[in-house]
Protein backbone atom coordinates (compact mmCIF):
# COMPACT_ATOMS: atom_id res chain seq x y z
CA UNK A 1 0.00 0.00 0.00
CA UNK A 2 1.29 3.41 -0.84
CA UNK A 3 1.90 5.74 2.04
CA UNK A 4 1.72 9.46 2.05
CA UNK A 5 4.67 11.29 3.56
CA UNK A 6 3.90 13.06 6.76
CA UNK A 7 5.61 16.39 6.41
CA UNK A 8 5.05 17.45 9.98
CA UNK A 9 6.58 14.35 11.47
CA UNK A 10 3.73 14.17 13.97
CA UNK A 11 0.96 11.67 14.15
CA UNK A 12 -1.64 12.25 11.51
CA UNK A 13 -4.58 10.17 10.51
CA UNK A 14 -3.87 7.89 7.58
CA UNK A 15 -5.50 9.09 4.39
CA UNK A 16 -7.51 5.87 4.31
CA UNK A 17 -9.15 6.83 7.62
CA UNK A 18 -9.88 10.32 6.35
CA UNK A 19 -11.42 8.96 3.19
CA UNK A 20 -13.62 6.63 5.21
CA UNK A 21 -14.79 9.58 7.31
CA UNK A 22 -15.44 11.55 4.15
CA UNK A 23 -17.59 8.62 3.03
CA UNK A 24 -19.65 9.16 6.18
CA UNK A 25 -20.27 12.76 5.20
CA UNK A 26 -17.58 14.43 7.31
CA UNK A 27 -16.78 17.71 5.60
CA UNK A 28 -13.98 18.57 8.01
CA UNK A 29 -12.22 15.34 7.06
CA UNK A 30 -12.79 16.21 3.44
CA UNK A 31 -11.05 19.55 3.93
CA UNK A 32 -8.11 17.82 5.57
CA UNK A 33 -7.98 15.22 2.84
CA UNK A 34 -7.98 17.99 0.27
CA UNK A 35 -5.26 19.93 2.06
CA UNK A 36 -3.04 16.89 2.24
CA UNK A 37 -3.50 15.68 -1.33
CA UNK A 38 -4.46 18.60 -3.57
CA UNK A 39 -0.86 19.42 -4.51
CA UNK A 40 -0.44 15.85 -5.73
CA UNK A 41 -3.69 15.67 -7.63
CA UNK A 42 -3.29 19.15 -9.09
CA UNK A 43 0.35 18.44 -9.97
CA UNK A 44 -0.69 15.39 -11.98
CA UNK A 45 -3.59 17.13 -13.68
CA UNK A 46 -1.44 20.12 -14.57
CA UNK A 47 1.22 17.86 -16.01
CA UNK A 48 -1.36 16.34 -18.31
CA UNK A 49 -3.45 19.35 -19.22
CA UNK A 50 -0.82 22.10 -18.92
CA UNK A 51 -3.48 24.82 -19.05
CA UNK A 52 -4.05 26.13 -15.51
CA UNK A 53 -7.74 26.93 -15.81
CA UNK A 54 -8.62 23.58 -17.37
CA UNK A 55 -6.52 21.88 -14.74
CA UNK A 56 -8.44 23.65 -12.01
CA UNK A 57 -11.76 22.61 -13.50
CA UNK A 58 -10.73 18.99 -13.73
CA UNK A 59 -9.27 19.01 -10.23
CA UNK A 60 -12.56 20.36 -8.92
CA UNK A 61 -14.42 17.60 -10.72
CA UNK A 62 -12.06 15.02 -9.27
CA UNK A 63 -12.59 16.22 -5.70
CA UNK A 64 -16.33 16.35 -6.10
CA UNK A 65 -16.24 12.77 -7.35
CA UNK A 66 -14.15 11.85 -4.35
CA UNK A 67 -16.71 13.47 -2.08
CA UNK A 68 -19.63 11.79 -3.78
CA UNK A 69 -18.09 8.35 -4.00
CA UNK A 70 -15.94 8.11 -0.88
CA UNK A 71 -18.53 5.81 0.69
CA UNK A 72 -17.64 3.21 -1.89
CA UNK A 73 -13.93 3.32 -1.25
CA UNK A 74 -12.67 0.04 0.16
CA UNK A 75 -9.33 0.33 1.92
CA UNK A 76 -8.74 -3.40 1.62
CA UNK A 77 -8.50 -2.93 -2.11
CA UNK A 78 -5.83 -0.27 -2.21
CA UNK A 79 -4.50 2.94 -0.76
CA UNK A 80 -6.46 6.17 -0.68
CA UNK A 81 -3.93 8.17 -2.64
CA UNK A 82 -3.79 5.48 -5.32
CA UNK A 83 -7.57 5.61 -5.62
CA UNK A 84 -7.51 9.39 -5.93
CA UNK A 85 -4.60 9.58 -8.36
CA UNK A 86 -6.16 6.90 -10.57
CA UNK A 87 -9.35 8.90 -10.69
CA UNK A 88 -7.46 12.12 -11.42
CA UNK A 89 -5.47 10.60 -14.27
CA UNK A 90 -8.62 9.24 -15.82
CA UNK A 91 -10.46 12.55 -15.63
CA UNK A 92 -7.52 14.47 -17.05
CA UNK A 93 -7.22 12.06 -19.96
CA UNK A 94 -10.96 12.32 -20.59
CA UNK A 95 -10.59 16.08 -20.78
CA UNK A 96 -7.67 15.84 -23.19
CA UNK A 97 -9.54 13.49 -25.49
CA UNK A 98 -12.72 15.52 -25.38
CA UNK A 99 -11.00 18.83 -26.09
CA UNK A 100 -9.00 17.11 -28.78
CA UNK A 101 -12.23 16.03 -30.40
CA UNK A 102 -13.46 19.59 -30.60
CA UNK A 103 -10.05 20.84 -31.64
CA UNK A 104 -9.85 18.30 -34.44
CA UNK A 105 -13.31 19.31 -35.55
CA UNK A 106 -12.47 23.01 -35.57
CA UNK A 107 -9.23 22.38 -37.40
CA UNK A 108 -11.17 20.54 -40.08
CA UNK A 109 -13.26 23.62 -40.73
CA UNK A 110 -10.26 25.87 -40.75
CA UNK A 111 -10.51 27.86 -37.57
CA UNK A 112 -7.06 27.19 -36.29
CA UNK A 113 -6.85 30.74 -35.00
CA UNK A 114 -9.55 30.17 -32.45
CA UNK A 115 -7.79 27.34 -30.76
CA UNK A 116 -4.98 27.41 -28.24
CA UNK A 117 -1.59 26.07 -29.21
CA UNK A 118 -1.33 22.36 -29.51
CA UNK A 119 1.47 20.84 -27.56
CA UNK A 120 4.23 19.42 -29.59
CA UNK A 121 4.95 15.91 -28.55
CA UNK A 122 8.71 16.23 -28.38
CA UNK A 123 8.62 18.64 -25.49
CA UNK A 124 6.47 16.35 -23.43
CA UNK A 125 8.80 13.41 -23.42
CA UNK A 126 11.07 14.94 -20.83
CA UNK A 127 9.55 14.83 -17.40
CA UNK A 128 11.20 16.04 -14.28
CA UNK A 129 10.54 13.67 -11.44
CA UNK A 130 11.31 14.59 -7.92
CA UNK A 131 11.49 11.13 -6.50
CA UNK A 132 14.81 9.54 -7.28
CA UNK A 133 13.53 6.03 -6.84
CA UNK A 134 10.95 6.28 -9.62
CA UNK A 135 13.27 8.27 -11.80
CA UNK A 136 15.97 5.63 -11.40
CA UNK A 137 13.46 2.89 -12.19
CA UNK A 138 12.39 4.72 -15.35
CA UNK A 139 16.01 4.96 -16.36
CA UNK A 140 16.21 1.20 -16.34
CA UNK A 141 13.58 0.87 -19.06
CA UNK A 142 14.69 0.71 -22.63
CA UNK A 143 14.54 4.08 -24.35
CA UNK A 144 11.55 3.05 -26.45
CA UNK A 145 9.68 1.71 -23.43
CA UNK A 146 10.33 4.90 -21.51
CA UNK A 147 9.17 6.98 -24.45
CA UNK A 148 5.91 5.05 -24.81
CA UNK A 149 5.16 5.11 -21.07
CA UNK A 150 5.97 8.80 -20.79
CA UNK A 151 3.90 9.87 -23.77
CA UNK A 152 0.95 7.83 -22.56
CA UNK A 153 0.96 8.50 -18.83
CA UNK A 154 2.40 12.01 -18.60
CA UNK A 155 1.32 13.17 -22.04
CA UNK A 156 -2.16 11.66 -22.00
CA UNK A 157 -1.69 10.30 -25.51
CA UNK A 158 -3.79 7.42 -26.77
CA UNK A 159 -2.08 4.36 -28.20
CA UNK A 160 -3.13 5.39 -31.69
CA UNK A 161 -1.54 8.79 -31.26
CA UNK A 162 1.67 7.28 -29.95
CA UNK A 163 1.74 4.82 -32.85
CA UNK A 164 1.29 7.65 -35.35
CA UNK A 165 3.87 9.88 -33.66
CA UNK A 166 6.51 7.20 -33.51
CA UNK A 167 5.58 5.49 -36.77
CA UNK A 168 5.22 2.10 -35.16
CA UNK A 169 2.37 -0.44 -35.18
CA UNK A 170 -0.31 -0.23 -32.51
CA UNK A 171 0.63 -3.64 -31.17
CA UNK A 172 4.18 -2.45 -30.66
CA UNK A 173 2.95 0.46 -28.55
CA UNK A 174 0.97 -1.90 -26.34
CA UNK A 175 3.85 -4.28 -25.96
CA UNK A 176 6.20 -1.48 -24.99
CA UNK A 177 3.72 -0.14 -22.44
CA UNK A 178 3.15 -3.52 -20.86
CA UNK A 179 6.79 -4.56 -20.85
CA UNK A 180 7.79 -1.13 -19.57
CA UNK A 181 5.28 -1.16 -16.72
CA UNK A 182 6.19 -4.70 -15.72
CA UNK A 183 9.82 -3.67 -15.59
CA UNK A 184 8.89 -0.63 -13.51
CA UNK A 185 6.80 -2.74 -11.18
CA UNK A 186 9.71 -5.07 -10.61
CA UNK A 187 12.17 -2.25 -10.13
CA UNK A 188 9.90 -0.44 -7.69
CA UNK A 189 8.80 -3.55 -5.89
CA UNK A 190 5.19 -2.40 -5.86
CA UNK A 191 3.57 -4.22 -2.99
CA UNK A 192 0.09 -5.57 -3.07
Amino acid sequence: MLTFPDVDGGTVAPLEDLLREVGEGDRRSFAELYDRTAHRVYGLVRRLLVDPSQSEEVTQEVYLEIWQNAGRYDASRGGAIAWMMTLAHRRAVDRIRSSQASRDRDLRVGTRDWEPDIDVVAERVEVSLEMGRVSAALDRLTAVQREAVTLTYFGGRSNSEVAALLHIPLGTVKTRLRDGLIRLRDELGVAL
Binding site: E61, Q68, F154, V173, L192
Partner: protein
Protein backbone atom coordinates in the same frame (compact mmCIF):
# COMPACT_ATOMS: atom_id res chain seq x y z
CA UNK B 1 -1.49 -14.72 -20.39
CA UNK B 2 -3.11 -18.00 -21.12
CA UNK B 3 -6.21 -18.42 -23.25
CA UNK B 4 -6.40 -14.78 -24.21
CA UNK B 5 -6.17 -13.31 -27.69
CA UNK B 6 -2.74 -11.79 -28.09
CA UNK B 7 -3.86 -8.20 -28.63
CA UNK B 8 -5.86 -8.30 -25.41
CA UNK B 9 -3.19 -10.07 -23.41
CA UNK B 10 -0.73 -7.30 -24.23
CA UNK B 11 -3.19 -4.48 -23.51
CA UNK B 12 -2.94 -4.42 -19.72
CA UNK B 13 -0.28 -1.69 -19.66
CA UNK B 14 -2.13 0.42 -22.18
CA UNK B 15 -5.30 -0.05 -20.17
CA UNK B 16 -3.97 1.16 -16.83
CA UNK B 17 -2.30 4.14 -18.52
CA UNK B 18 -5.63 5.11 -20.10
CA UNK B 19 -4.21 4.71 -23.59
CA UNK B 20 -6.77 2.41 -25.17
CA UNK B 21 -9.35 3.64 -27.62
CA UNK B 22 -12.92 3.43 -26.30
CA UNK B 23 -13.89 0.30 -28.24
CA UNK B 24 -10.72 -1.51 -27.27
CA UNK B 25 -11.19 -0.50 -23.69
CA UNK B 26 -14.72 -1.85 -23.56
CA UNK B 27 -13.52 -5.10 -25.09
CA UNK B 28 -10.66 -5.33 -22.63
CA UNK B 29 -12.96 -4.75 -19.68
CA UNK B 30 -15.23 -7.57 -20.79
CA UNK B 31 -12.25 -9.91 -20.87
CA UNK B 32 -10.98 -8.52 -17.60
CA UNK B 33 -14.23 -9.37 -15.86
CA UNK B 34 -13.72 -13.04 -16.65
CA UNK B 35 -10.00 -13.35 -16.05
CA UNK B 36 -8.65 -13.29 -12.49
CA UNK B 37 -5.16 -13.66 -13.89
CA UNK B 38 -5.50 -10.55 -15.98
CA UNK B 39 -7.10 -8.67 -13.09
CA UNK B 40 -4.10 -9.44 -10.93
CA UNK B 41 -1.76 -8.03 -13.51
CA UNK B 42 -3.91 -4.94 -14.02
CA UNK B 43 -3.95 -4.29 -10.28
CA UNK B 44 -0.18 -4.40 -10.02
CA UNK B 45 0.38 -2.27 -13.09
CA UNK B 46 -2.21 0.23 -11.93
CA UNK B 47 -0.32 0.68 -8.67
CA UNK B 48 2.84 1.12 -10.68
CA UNK B 49 1.23 3.86 -12.74
CA UNK B 50 0.22 5.63 -9.53
CA UNK B 51 3.86 5.66 -8.47
CA UNK B 52 4.66 7.56 -11.64
CA UNK B 53 2.05 10.15 -10.77
CA UNK B 54 3.29 10.51 -7.22
CA UNK B 55 6.82 11.08 -8.46
CA UNK B 56 5.78 14.28 -10.20
CA UNK B 57 6.64 17.56 -8.55
CA UNK B 58 3.55 18.62 -6.59
CA UNK B 59 1.89 21.92 -7.42
CA UNK B 60 -0.09 23.86 -4.84
CA UNK B 61 -3.43 24.96 -6.21
CA UNK B 62 -4.70 28.38 -5.24
CA UNK B 63 -6.91 29.21 -2.29
CA UNK B 64 -9.73 30.10 -4.67
CA UNK B 65 -9.94 26.54 -5.89
CA UNK B 66 -10.07 25.23 -2.35
CA UNK B 67 -12.92 27.60 -1.56
CA UNK B 68 -14.79 26.57 -4.68
CA UNK B 69 -14.44 22.89 -3.95
CA UNK B 70 -15.49 23.20 -0.32
CA UNK B 71 -18.49 25.30 -1.37
CA UNK B 72 -19.46 22.75 -3.98
CA UNK B 73 -19.12 19.91 -1.50
CA UNK B 74 -21.36 21.71 0.97
CA UNK B 75 -24.04 21.79 -1.72
CA UNK B 76 -23.60 18.23 -2.94
CA UNK B 77 -25.24 15.09 -1.65
CA UNK B 78 -23.13 11.97 -1.54
CA UNK B 79 -23.86 8.70 -3.22
CA UNK B 80 -24.15 5.85 -0.82
CA UNK B 81 -22.37 2.56 -1.27
CA UNK B 82 -25.28 0.85 -2.93
CA UNK B 83 -26.96 1.38 -6.23
CA UNK B 84 -25.72 4.31 -8.17
CA UNK B 85 -28.29 6.66 -9.61
CA UNK B 86 -28.06 6.94 -13.33
CA UNK B 87 -28.12 10.47 -14.58
CA UNK B 88 -28.68 11.61 -18.14
CA UNK B 89 -25.51 12.00 -20.13
CA UNK B 90 -24.92 15.49 -21.33
CA UNK B 91 -25.06 16.14 -25.02
CA UNK B 92 -21.50 16.91 -25.80
CA UNK B 93 -19.33 17.73 -28.74
CA UNK B 94 -17.28 14.69 -27.83
CA UNK B 95 -19.65 12.02 -26.60
CA UNK B 96 -17.32 9.18 -27.48
CA UNK B 97 -14.83 9.63 -24.70
CA UNK B 98 -16.05 12.08 -22.15
CA UNK B 99 -18.76 9.87 -20.74
CA UNK B 100 -17.12 6.54 -20.66
CA UNK B 101 -17.30 4.67 -17.47
CA UNK B 102 -14.26 4.64 -15.35
CA UNK B 103 -11.98 1.72 -15.95
CA UNK B 104 -12.63 -1.33 -13.87
CA UNK B 105 -9.58 -1.03 -11.76
CA UNK B 106 -10.18 -3.05 -8.68
CA UNK B 107 -11.78 -0.30 -6.69
CA UNK B 108 -13.51 1.49 -9.51
CA UNK B 109 -16.42 -0.72 -10.58
CA UNK B 110 -18.70 0.47 -7.83
CA UNK B 111 -18.14 4.09 -8.68
CA UNK B 112 -20.59 5.17 -11.29
CA UNK B 113 -19.12 8.53 -11.95
CA UNK B 114 -20.97 10.93 -14.13
CA UNK B 115 -19.38 14.08 -15.27
CA UNK B 116 -22.68 15.64 -16.10
CA UNK B 117 -23.81 15.51 -12.51
CA UNK B 118 -20.55 16.93 -11.26
CA UNK B 119 -20.62 19.72 -13.77
CA UNK B 120 -24.17 20.53 -12.76
CA UNK B 121 -23.20 20.78 -9.13
CA UNK B 122 -20.26 23.03 -9.80
CA UNK B 123 -22.49 25.17 -11.96
CA UNK B 124 -25.15 25.30 -9.30
CA UNK B 125 -22.70 26.28 -6.60
CA UNK B 126 -21.53 29.03 -8.85
CA UNK B 127 -25.04 30.18 -9.61
CA UNK B 128 -25.88 30.36 -5.93
CA UNK B 129 -22.80 32.43 -5.29
CA UNK B 130 -23.71 34.86 -8.04
CA UNK B 131 -27.46 34.95 -7.95
CA UNK B 132 -27.49 38.36 -6.33
CA UNK B 133 -25.23 39.81 -8.98
CA UNK B 134 -26.49 43.24 -10.10
CA UNK B 135 -26.61 42.39 -13.79
CA UNK B 136 -28.28 39.04 -13.27
CA UNK B 137 -30.73 38.32 -16.04
CA UNK B 138 -34.45 38.31 -15.47
CA UNK B 139 -36.65 35.48 -14.31
CA UNK B 140 -33.89 33.23 -13.06
CA UNK B 141 -32.21 33.02 -16.44
CA UNK B 142 -28.62 32.57 -15.35
CA UNK B 143 -29.65 30.30 -12.52
CA UNK B 144 -31.54 28.13 -14.97
CA UNK B 145 -28.34 27.63 -16.92
CA UNK B 146 -26.31 26.93 -13.81
CA UNK B 147 -28.77 24.37 -12.51
CA UNK B 148 -29.40 22.62 -15.82
CA UNK B 149 -28.74 18.89 -15.72
CA UNK B 150 -25.94 19.35 -18.23
CA UNK B 151 -24.52 22.58 -16.84
CA UNK B 152 -20.85 23.20 -17.46
CA UNK B 153 -18.55 25.68 -15.88
CA UNK B 154 -15.25 27.09 -17.09
CA UNK B 155 -12.92 29.68 -15.64
CA UNK B 156 -10.60 31.11 -18.23
CA UNK B 157 -7.91 33.73 -18.16
CA UNK B 158 -8.44 36.78 -20.37
CA UNK B 159 -5.57 38.09 -22.47
CA UNK B 160 -4.82 41.48 -20.98
CA UNK B 161 -5.92 40.51 -17.49
CA UNK B 162 -8.85 39.22 -15.51
CA UNK B 163 -10.84 36.01 -15.46
CA UNK B 164 -14.00 35.02 -17.25
CA UNK B 165 -16.41 32.51 -15.78
CA UNK B 166 -18.70 30.89 -18.30
CA UNK B 167 -21.55 28.52 -17.62
CA UNK B 168 -23.39 26.81 -20.38
CA UNK B 169 -25.99 24.18 -21.05
CA UNK B 170 -26.24 22.47 -24.41
CA UNK B 171 -29.67 21.24 -23.53
CA UNK B 172 -30.94 24.77 -22.96
CA UNK B 173 -28.74 26.21 -25.72
CA UNK B 174 -27.81 29.06 -23.39
CA UNK B 175 -24.78 30.40 -21.62
CA UNK B 176 -23.97 32.93 -18.94
CA UNK B 177 -20.80 34.89 -18.45
CA UNK B 178 -19.35 36.83 -15.55
CA UNK B 179 -15.98 38.46 -15.15
CA UNK B 180 -13.52 39.17 -12.44
CA UNK B 181 -10.84 41.83 -12.73
CA UNK B 182 -11.33 42.72 -16.39
CA UNK B 183 -9.51 45.94 -17.33
CA UNK B 184 -11.78 48.95 -17.71
CA UNK B 185 -12.04 49.97 -21.33
CA UNK B 186 -12.01 53.41 -22.93
CA UNK B 187 -15.45 54.95 -23.37
CA UNK B 188 -15.53 54.12 -27.08
CA UNK B 189 -14.78 50.41 -26.58
CA UNK B 190 -16.72 47.49 -25.23
CA UNK B 191 -16.33 43.78 -24.58
CA UNK B 192 -18.40 41.63 -26.89
CA UNK B 193 -19.26 37.94 -26.69
CA UNK B 194 -19.58 35.57 -29.64
CA UNK B 195 -20.82 32.13 -30.47
CA UNK B 196 -18.32 30.73 -32.92
CA UNK B 197 -19.21 27.64 -34.91
CA UNK B 198 -16.01 27.29 -36.89
CA UNK B 199 -17.18 29.15 -39.96
CA UNK B 200 -18.88 32.15 -38.47
CA UNK B 201 -18.94 34.16 -35.29
CA UNK B 202 -22.43 35.22 -34.18
CA UNK B 203 -22.70 38.31 -31.99
CA UNK B 204 -23.96 37.30 -28.53
CA UNK B 205 -24.09 40.65 -26.81
CA UNK B 206 -21.91 43.45 -25.52
CA UNK B 207 -20.64 43.13 -21.98
CA UNK B 208 -19.52 45.90 -19.68
CA UNK B 209 -17.19 43.56 -17.84
CA UNK B 210 -19.04 43.60 -14.53
CA UNK B 211 -21.71 41.41 -13.01
CA UNK B 212 -23.26 38.59 -14.91
CA UNK B 213 -24.78 38.46 -18.38
CA UNK B 214 -26.64 35.84 -20.33
CA UNK B 215 -25.46 35.63 -23.91
CA UNK B 216 -27.94 36.58 -26.60
CA UNK B 217 -29.08 34.06 -29.16
CA UNK B 218 -28.97 30.32 -29.10
CA UNK B 219 -25.82 28.36 -28.42
CA UNK B 220 -25.48 25.39 -30.77
CA UNK B 221 -23.71 22.17 -29.89
CA UNK B 222 -20.01 22.53 -30.40
CA UNK B 223 -19.95 26.32 -30.45
CA UNK B 224 -16.91 28.02 -29.05
CA UNK B 225 -17.71 30.97 -26.81
CA UNK B 226 -15.30 33.83 -27.34
CA UNK B 227 -14.87 37.44 -26.26
CA UNK B 228 -13.26 40.34 -28.11
CA UNK B 229 -12.92 44.09 -27.64
CA UNK B 230 -14.99 46.08 -30.12
CA UNK B 231 -16.15 49.66 -30.73
CA UNK B 232 -18.82 50.82 -28.27
CA UNK B 233 -22.20 49.42 -29.22
CA UNK B 234 -20.71 46.24 -30.58
CA UNK B 235 -19.70 44.90 -33.97
CA UNK B 236 -21.31 42.49 -36.37
CA UNK B 237 -18.13 40.48 -36.77
CA UNK B 238 -15.15 40.17 -34.45
CA UNK B 239 -12.22 42.43 -35.29
CA UNK B 240 -9.61 40.12 -33.77
CA UNK B 241 -9.11 36.65 -32.42
CA UNK B 242 -10.77 36.26 -29.03
CA UNK B 243 -9.01 37.51 -25.93
CA UNK B 244 -10.72 34.64 -24.15
CA UNK B 245 -12.46 31.56 -25.50
CA UNK B 246 -13.76 28.20 -24.42
CA UNK B 247 -14.90 25.26 -26.52
CA UNK B 248 -18.24 23.93 -25.30
Amino acid sequence: MTDLPHDLAISSGAYVLNGLEPEEEAQFERVLAGSPELRGEVTELSDTAVELGLALAPIEPGDLMRARILAAVAATPQRNGLAAVEMPARESAAPDRAHRRLPTHRWIPRMTVLVAGIAAVLGLAFAIAHVSSPNGGGAGGPVAVGSASDAHLAHIAVDGGGMLTIQWSHRLGRSVVSADGLPRLAADRTYELWYIDGKTARPAGVFDGTGQMELAGRMDDGDTIGMTIEPAGGAKAPSSVPIASVAT
